[in-house]
Symmetry: C2
Subunit: 429 residues, 2 copies
């Protein structure tokens, strides 16, 4: 019953930090991995743009400049795709490999978010495995946990800190009181953020991961366009400070409730909750489910070692003959999630930059009242005659729509001078 | 490749809260579980001391008074053992079931801690699965995480809050300042602690779980007698208060480092670390490993729903044909862990109840000096003429042996009037 072939041939396409680390682990720890896998995983070929020393023993390993050529080799059982990008070479290679009856292991969240359903179908057609543990939450085995560890549960909600760059920036802002631009610049210098940071800080990367988690949690076809996304650019040091005064920290969360529109957005998270304590570049994934109630898993969300750990686990599962459908069920049985409801009502934080004029408070509260929004508390720390001042308030439970409508109306007011920001509030997580 | 039989027959032995909840889930959610399992899991027989309504639809399900009779039935593929106890009926049933070629799923940590290696061999002989996810950390899929999710890693250390009763008592003491006896009594009244609480509060239950985790982490034969165990009876409200003043909380941790003696004992845990924040009846398991670095998973450590979740996951894995060796590798390849080294040196907390006499401080510090122990800080809050007073100090890094020797010597001093307690200190976790 337990698969016991003598060797399993592996090719790695893409030798960036994750690819090189995976190659290092496969070559250096071969004996130990063999005992875990029951079969010797043998790295037979690698592909990258340039051939150079990458810290692993490349003797006996073919260097193949054209990644897609790996798909056709008879000595390869598993193609490990670590090139990245939703389309292009990565997608071509994965399609070709599956067509040739090879298992595919990938860390490519963008490709799975965009083409996961198609690739899962192709894998089933070819009776091979498509594995992407490394695509979500780095070293945390979040997909295995959800797909197998919690397979007896109905998932009610998946909530996660899914982007280490955003979490690092928000943590730094919280701990040092510095502004977004300054912290972002420093994160870029330290290599925690890309030179073109939009993918991370605008929430796209977190949304890719969330769409994959939601598909697994609810038995749905992965549907990246359904995710409602807003990133962290609008968060100022003022918001961090006011949130702190109210007993909260600001976190970018991906959140997908059963039957609800998945969202990636900054939240006010109660300071004593588990997710509030996940600092720096860590990731966390929380599952609310029945009958298990709540499981939270934290760990490094990125980096060579943690990502290689997830890639190796997929390789060992394949070598051991442990088979799963890519999204937990046959691709043909995955539902299309066309009829998602809006997220449920909740409390909100509102920050409006206003001119310090007479009657402003009254004007704002009447706009909120007109939208049936009830104010819970209000804060205004300091006033400065010639500069716009922040007005911060929290609302009692309300739906998202009136909040969005009130924000739009506020933005049109002459006394508003700057951004209007509304963030949902999470009291426990 | 994915197993696709039409039905898989299940028997549950033991209908306490976990057994009844598992039966409820299997009967109520059959369609959903079928889609996860690819096969319909059908509950065909149950066994318990008495036959009564337990909140699930028992129509069509045989009631069998003699649990061991379940092993012989041809319509049963999986025997779910939820009777408990390391020996007796539970162990007889599991051995008989494996011999008859039936898969065994169990939540029985005592039985696996004592007989896990033998049962794993029997399961391999019969080419069936022995699964015990529910035996460790309740609803947290800790074993799957370790065995499969982190299969590409070398585990360096496993640390866990593995007993909900102890964690509940320590949390209550911390939050309310009350003493051990009072909190234990209340926990017993609320049903969080047993009438005979020794199994939990003396650390046996946590040690069962730790021995299983250590076996999986290090590829060793499960070896319960190797665990060094001390429970929480000696912890007083004084210790909780002093630990708090020093920036720590007290937690009962199971800890097993690679090649080291596994220990269950109370620790001072830095208040801002992740494990310090696991309150009440929650469990947590932390893995330090290479290349993933650190993964922490938290969730409910006991209770009907969380335990049933783990049992169902094992059933679905079996139904799906996902096979694993019980301890991650063939039983014959598991090492005997005979040559374990002592735990590495660390900082310690020492509390001595002394008579308030002249020269006591000097006598204590010279005893410590004689054992080459260097004092880091000392605290003495209040003094009372006619009652013994606590003297609390922390030590710089030292090995365990001199601490134990110093404690023994202190206990023999005339000025010592009451317990001498030394606890290790965990600065980050």
């Amino acid at each position: 019953m337990l698969k016991n072939m003598s060797e399993i041939g592996i090719a790695i396409a893409g030798l960036g930090v994750v690819g090189a680390e995976t190659a290092r682990q496969l070559t250096k720890k071969n004996t130990e991995l063999h005992s875990r896998a029951g079969t010797a995983p043998v790295l037979r070929a690698v592909s990258a743009r340039t051939q150079k020393d990458r810290g692993f023993d490349a003797s006996g390993i073919d260097f193949v400049p054209d990644a897609t050529a790996l798909a056709a080799r008879n000595d390869i059982d598993i193609v490990v795709e670590l090139i990245g990008g939703s389309d292009g070479v990565a997608f071509d290679l994965c399609q070709a490999a599956l067509k040739q009856g090879k298992h595919v292991v990938t860390a490519n969240k963008a490709m799975i978010a965009h083409h996961g359903h198609l690739l899962a179908q192709r894998a089933e057609d070819a009776n091979v495995q498509l594995c992407f543990e490394a695509a979500v939450a780095g070293g945390i085995p979040a997909l295995k946990l959800l797909r197998e560890g919690l397979s007896g549960n109905e998932i009610e909600r998946v909530t996660g800190i899914l982007n280490g760059t955003c979490n690092y920036i928000l943590t730094e802002m919280t701990q040092t009181g510095r502004g977004f631009d300054e912290v972002l610049r420093e994160a870029q210098e330290k290599g925690y953020a890309e030179a073109e940071p939009s993918f991370d800080i605008d929430g796209i990367d977190a949304a890719h991961k969330l769409s994959i988690l939601a598909a697994l949690a609810y038995g749905e076809q992965v549907n990246f366009p359904s995710v409602n996304i807003s990133g962290i650019r609008a968060i100022t040091d003022i918001d961090i400070a006011y949130a702190g005064d109210l007993g909260f920290v600001i976190k970018l969360l991906g959140s997908a409730g059963r039957g609800r529109v998945p969202t990636v957005q900054p939240w006010l998270v109660a300071r004593d909750s588990q997710l509030a304590k996940i600092d720096g570049a860590l990731n966390a994934v929380a599952f609310d489910a029945e009958p298990v109630r709540s499981i939270v898993c934290t760990g490094p969300g990125a980096g060579a070692g943690p990502t290689a750990s997830a890639v190796l686990a997929d390789i060992i599962d394949i070598a051991r003959g442990r088979r799963s459908f890519a999204f937990g069920r046959p691709a043909a049985s995955l539902k299309s999630n066309g009829d998602l409801k809006a997220v449920p009502p909740g409390r909100f934080y509102l920050r409006v930059m206003v001119r310090d004029e007479t009657g402003v408070l009254s004007a704002i509260t009447s706009i909120l009242r007109d939208h049936q929004i009830s104010v819970e508390s209000m804060l205004q720390k300091s006033q400065s005659a010639n500069k716009p001042v922040p007005l911060v308030l929290t609302m009692h439970e309300t739906a998202h729509e009136p909040v969005a409508a009130a924000c739009a109306e506020l933005r049109g007011q002459s006394f508003v001078d700057g951004d209007v920001l509304a963030l949902p509030v999470l009291d426990s997580a």
